[in-house]
């Protein structure tokens, strides 16, 4: 028997998305319309995925089990997948690094894939970065106003980093005023991303003789990461 089952992990990510903008697209992971049903994946806890309209990704954490394993089995594999919903995205090109589920590295049966879904299996860095962001949120002790800012900032950051970032082991920091920042640094050089929870971010690249606080640029998260930032992060990771 080769069939696989999976269980959704109800973790803080869900709570963030539960409170997401109602205009977001949503798709089920349970029931006859489950995205995962055709892959013999059974999500045994009810949850919904929210995907910002016109953007991506939804973040779903799924623990995959080989047949006969239980949720307590230590051989289960923990992966983060980003679901690229077909809704309102037919005209959009598939984002880079997204592979079809059927050719993902996950041990999934080769069931024909609906052409209107694509799924990315994140590499371990992606998964750990999302997790670090959530851990920063969970361990922070913030006052009421900062907590609300932090909730939005973390939600923004998780959605953004899982799709846009790769490479390196950045510092993840949640400030006392609820702002989430991610920093790659190498000596006195580095790259910082700042998320304040309003759908935009700020990036700064510190070059020799430069400063993080001068030359920073604001950007809309839905526009993705600027090439110069990606290149700078890659350079940090390689260093």
């Amino acid at each position: 028997m080769t069939a696989l089952t999976a269980t959704t992990e109800i973790d803080p990510v869900w709570h963030f998305f539960d409170e997401a903008d109602p205009s977001l697209d949503r798709t089920d992971v349970l029931g006859p319309n489950s995205l995962f049903l055709s892959y013999s994946i059974i999500a045994h806890r009810s949850a919904r995925i929210a995907t910002p309209s016109g953007t991506f990704p939804s973040v779903v954490e799924i623990t995959w089990y080989r047949s006969g394993f239980t949720s307590g089995n230590t051989q289960s594999e923990f992966l983060t997948i980003n679901v690229f919903s077909h809704e309102s995205r037919l005209s959009m090109p598939r984002p880079p690094n997204y592979d079809m589920l059927s050719i993902s590295p996950a041990p999934i049966e080769s069931i024909p894939l609906p052409v209107d879904y694509a799924v990315q299996i994140s590499d371990p860095m992606h998964s750990s970065l999302s997790r670090k962001i959530r851990e920063a949120y969970q361990s922070a002790q913030l006052d009421h106003d900062a907590a609300e800012t932090a909730r939005r900032a973390v939600n923004d950051a998780i959605g953004f980093v899982d799709f846009n970032l790769h490479g390196g082991k950045p510092l993840v920091m949640l400030s006392d005023d609820g702002v989430l920042s991610v920093q790659w640094r190498l000596g006195h050089l580095g790259v910082m991303l700042v998320f304040t929870g309003d759908g935009t971010g700020t990036y700064s690249i510190k070059r020799p003789g430069g400063s993080y606080a001068v030359g920073a640029k604001d950007f809309r998260l839905e526009d993705g990461l600027a090439d110069e930032v990606r290149a700078a992060i890659d350079a940090q990771a390689a260093g």
């Binding site: 702002v179 910082m192 604001d218």
Partner: protein, 179 residues
Amino acid sequence: MVSECAKETTTQHYLGAGNGHGPVRSDEVVLFAVFENVPHDGGRLTPLAFQSKQLRRGEVSLARLAHTARAIFDERVIQALEHRFGKCLGITRGNVSAFRAIQFEVSGAIPTIRGRAVCVLDKVGQEDYDGHAALEYSETEEGLTQKQKERYRPLIHAELADTFGEILSLDRGFGGPVV
């Protein structure tokens, strides 16, 4: 020209002018104690070592190297704070001129908003020793909108962390110039 750090020009000693060592000179060196619970990584402070609330209130404590004896630092900083922040790992140090040179610039604002990021104050409270100093956001930073502050403060904190440099042993931190 509007002052960005008016408080730097006069003592902030709780007993008033004529007490303590007077305003911090730009050629001085200041020390920052690093305890286990102070965010650090790879032998350096991280930006999270600096909290917005503390910088707003001018409560990021420094010791003026020229005016702080090692014994005073041991007693009034390390022994006084280890029970709250964990074992002292060492100190970081920096030139006052370098902190005063940190600038911020807000992109997208018309006209561009640019100014000093932090002030280094001769700030001595009742519980402090006379060699105590403090970092505080500059008055220019106060003029930003709340959203601008949220965006730029982490960048300022990152610059502060870089300016302090590596965490040194107490002996080395209290020694001569660090190359």
